[in-house]
């Protein structure tokens, strides 16, 4: 950590106009999935004769990651949403030069005094579940309601046609499975075939899709207020139902299928999303995206397994997600697909 502290101090002195005597302290690495190295730290410096101190978060590209994404995509998402009603940390600096910290990184404010609930806990939010849940689904709807052009994101991300959004996403994750499977995946392959044979209607709108909006990827405070939506590295433009389905995936509710994300009931969750987004979550459309969500999950866990197996990334979360999360999604999908196969024969 001393090495990071020293190098980052030099960076801040270079980057912050008028800053001198920069000190970096209380550096600690935290888990932020395995897609970036994430550090909490405090920075203190003198500027215009005044002492300044800020809690910060540093997100640095790893050698290999769970998801191959561009870090400026995540940074741009924070920058786009920070002025809106969607709570996100203030993005501060994006650095692509590798001279400072060996790999590209970005810096944002640290939101203190908060925690993230675990999707693998039976009751991650305790008595705050209802309050947090209402905000969670409303914020997701608010994201869906935004205009990508007005946010300045349309120029940074591919904009699919409304009838092509599903195919693009499915092709992406199918290729991940093709490239990374360590063992044949009959359930994933059956699901992909079903998704292709039964495409959804065109998206009601092409919206900003967070890509990993779920329990575990937001911070809340002791009063039950959501203070920051995190982990925007899979952000893209697409059908907003993708986000709703991902957030409601059974994996994130630890055996509470009626309370997606471990918060409020499904019916209320969907209604709040519809109200905030101005869109409709038609059950048949949503079913397609729910099956897709589990396929996407499988692709991510399969990829994690390959990274661990090859020695590229041996963070234990890679092995855990490959073992446990693959099992959950295989069983969730198999149950759904068996029923759909029987339905198709009627």
């Amino acid at each position: 950590m001393d090495d990071i502290a020293q190098k980052f101090a030099a960076y801040l002195e270079h980057r912050v106009s008028g800053a001198s005597a920069v000190e970096i302290f209380d550096v600690s690495r935290i888990h932020g999935g395995a897609s970036r190295e994430t550090f909490r730290l405090r920075a203190r410096w003198r500027q215009d004769g005044e002492a300044v101190e800020r809690p910060l978060v540093l997100r640095r590209d790893p050698v290999a990651s769970l998801i191959e994404t561009e870090r400026d995509l995540e940074y741009n998402a924070y920058r786009a949403f920070h002025p809106t009603a969607v709570p996100v940390p203030e993005p501060l600096y994006l650095e692509t030069e590798t001279a400072w910290l060996e790999r590209p990184f970005f810096v944002m404010e640290q939101i203190e005094g908060c925690e993230a609930g675990s999707p693998f806990a039976p009751d991650p939010f305790g008595p705050l579940a209802d309050r947090i849940g209402r905000q969670f689904w409303t914020i997701l709807g608010t994201i869906a309601a935004q205009d990508p052009e007005a946010l300045g994101l349309a120029g940074h991300m591919e904009m699919p046609a409304p009838d092509k959004a599903w195919a693009r996403e499915l092709a992406h994750w199918e290729k991940v499975i093709d490239d990374d499977e360590l063992t044949p995946q009959p359930v994933a392959r059956a699901a992909i075939r079903w998704l292709k044979r039964n495409p959804p209607p065109p998206a009601q709108k092409i919206a900003v899709v967070h890509g990993d909006y779920r329990t575990g990827n937001f911070l809340f405070d002791a009063d039950g207020d959501i203070r920051a939506i995190l982990d925007w590295e899979m952000c893209h433009l697409g059908d907003p139902l993708e986000d709703l389905a991902w957030a409601a995936d059974p994996l994130w509710a630890f055996e509470q299928p009626d309370r997606p994300g471990g918060m409020i009931g499904r019916k209320e969750a969907v209604a709040l999303w519809e109200q905030a987004s101005g869109l409709s979550a038609d059950p048949d459309r949503l079913r397609w995206w729910e099956i897709f969500a589990s396929v996407k999950g499988l692709a991510i866990w399969i990829s994690a397994g390959k990274e661990y197996d090859s020695g590229t990334n041996q963070d234990p979360v890679m092995a855990f997600s490959s073992w446990y999360c693959t099992d959950v999604h295989d069983r969730v999908l198999a149950e759904r697909l068996e029923a759909l196969a029987a339905e198709a024969r009627l």
Binding site: S28, R29, I30, H31, S118, F120, A121, P122, T183, P184, Q185, P186, V187, R189, A190, R193, R197, F254, D315, P316, V317, A319, F320, W323, Y324, D327, V328, D330, R331, A334, E335, L337, E338, A341, A342, R345
Partner: protein, 149 residues
């Protein structure tokens, strides 16, 4: 070896989770150690059941393929199904059982895709049987662990 591997892995899980992890101080280190402990716990269960799981999976898939070989009209597929049904597991090493299982699963993917395109009355019950066998396979492999608070 005694104590047996399951006991050693479970014991190590407990030590990591309750004695070492809490003393590490940083979120990342203690979180990583907790996860490593959890992997040992899951690994212990897998060590205990892996050979049995794979043996039963392979047996069930071969029985399914033997039945399917008498039903599907496609001559090439019928031949591949019959050949797979006739195989046996000569070794109980996990690697050998896994290799056989991978081969059977590859054929299973082909069979499922084939059945989905068949509308004749014989296809539905066979397709349902495939799902039944596959779901039994998944239940056998179900990963269970204590909730992480």
């Amino acid at each position: 070896m005694k104590p047996d591997l399951v006991k050693v892995m479970n014991g190590t899980f407990g030590t990591l989770l309750f004695e070492i992890g809490p003393k590490l101080g940083t979120d990342y280190s203690s979180g990583s150690v907790n996860l490593m402990g959890l992997l040992l716990l899951l690994g212990a269960e897998e060590h205990e059941r892996a050979a049995d799981t794979l043996f039963q999976d392979n047996r069930d898939l071969r029985a399914l393929f033997g039945e399917a070989a008498g039903i599907v009209p496609d001559v090439g597929l019928r031949g591949r199904l019959a050949a797979a049904a006739a195989e046996t597991d000569a070794s109980l090493r996990i690697s050998a059982l896994t290799d056989a299982n991978d081969g059977l699963k590859t054929l299973l993917v082909e069979v499922q895709a084939y059945l989905e395109d068949q509308a004749e009355p014989w296809a539905g019950p066979l397709e349902a049987k495939v799902w039944h066998v596959l779901r039994a396979n998944l239940e056998r492999r179900k990963v269970t662990f204590p909730s992480l608070g």
